[in-house]
Symmetry: C2
Subunit: 229 residues, 2 copies
């Protein structure tokens, strides 16, 4: 019986190196990074990072684009991010409740981007608040934006009409690996994150995927969404 198992193992082996896992994790915000930056994240020399990166590109998990003497790496497709989300969700499950739980950086747990939408306490709080106010149905497996939810986002200036190309779904749950509860993903989730960045509610920290919530953002998330953060 021939199955996909060998390809599955090959794929997993690619993620099984701590350096490469760090690189992939770092790229989950969807932005591109230089090889040097990724070497730093992985904690290896540029030569070693280069070797890792070439393997990831060869297997089509990353794509690379040359910008002058630098090379910018990013996730090849959203499918890869979705896969990593799923793996992180399982990775966050502590198999031995006895041993100390995986220490997650406080800033990452507080607020971060997950590919293109909000995650961490902030992401879950926004999703919870929208759910409580009847804007949203969100389950571990699927999500739906209600009429009032569409109205809320519309009032904020978010255009929810589908783009001509790409049939990406409006509303999708994404299981938060630090909170272990779903937050808002899909087009709607990306739109909210975009809005928050544009209005300076959140700011990307220079390093990593965590974001800083501004004073204005704290007020906005509380007042406009009713989030308890």
């Amino acid at each position: 019986m021939q199955t996909i198992a060998p390809e599955l193992a090959e794929l997993a082996a690619l993620i099984a190196d701590p350096g490469r896992a760090g690189i992939l994790s770092r790229l989950m915000d969807g932005r591109a990074q230089t090889a040097s930056e990724l070497a730093l994240v992985a904690g290896v020399t540029p030569q070693t990072a280069s070797w890792h990166l070439s393997k990831l590109v060869e297997r089509a998990l990353l794509k690379v684009e040359r910008r002058g003497p630098r090379r910018l790496y990013r996730l090849a497709t959203p499918l890869v991010a979705q896969m990593l989300e799923g793996m992180m969700t399982v990775a966050a499950i502590d198999p031995h409740p006895a041993r100390p739980p995986p220490r997650i950086d406080a800033e990452m747990r507080r607020a971060r981007t997950c590919y293109d939408h909000l995650a961490g306490e902030l992401g879950v709080a926004v999703a919870d608040a929208m759910r409580e106010r009847g804007h949203l149905h969100l389950d571990q497996e699927a999500g739906e934006l209600t009429a009032s939810g569409r109205a809320l986002l519309g009032d904020l200036g978010i255009d929810l009409r589908a783009p001509a190309r790409g049939r990406r779904l409006l509303c999708r749950p994404c299981l938060d690996w630090s909170e272990r509860r779903p937050h808002l993903a899909g087009r709607a989730g990306a739109a909210v994150a975009d809005l928050a960045l544009q209005r300076d509610w959140i700011r990307r920290r220079p390093q990593g995927r965590s974001v800083e919530i501004t004073e204005a953002g704290l007020a906005a998330f509380r007042d406009l969404f009713g989030a308890r953060i």
Copy 2:
């Protein structure tokens, strides 16, 4: 910056062995298997399989239950199956269109179970047909059963009310790794697969996850669902 990356790598390393990948893949139909059977699937001796299995159980990807002198292994949670689905989807992407595409067993491609629902050509055909007849909206990221879809399944004797415990969603897309298109998962998908097994539309093959479509099944899927298979 402390992230989940080390745990991600550790998890991936567990799947990175061809034997363990085969074992996990074999268990994706949700049924339990003995250690001996899994050793066969993995293509290793019972000792080696035992070592692999203990690692998988220790990391809480599998759970084990003793039945007399045998030990039965199964996936620990549906979350693990969902993660594997996502990985298989990426694993099925051929990074080098030049080199021969991963040879997938014809029976597996034709019809199989994916954890608890239908997959392969059959699964995709049923989902497509339901979509064409307006029973279903199904996208790569989310799914929704229409009123007519609920009626169809209701007429077939499927009770779609949620069980008291567990808030599993009714309708969910699952990206088919052999067809690269979504098929029907979630409670509705599981119910359809259950029905098909009960009415002898499909029969599990003794080995592996592929299923045989009976004559009656062929007629039923064509007549009742409008599937082109």
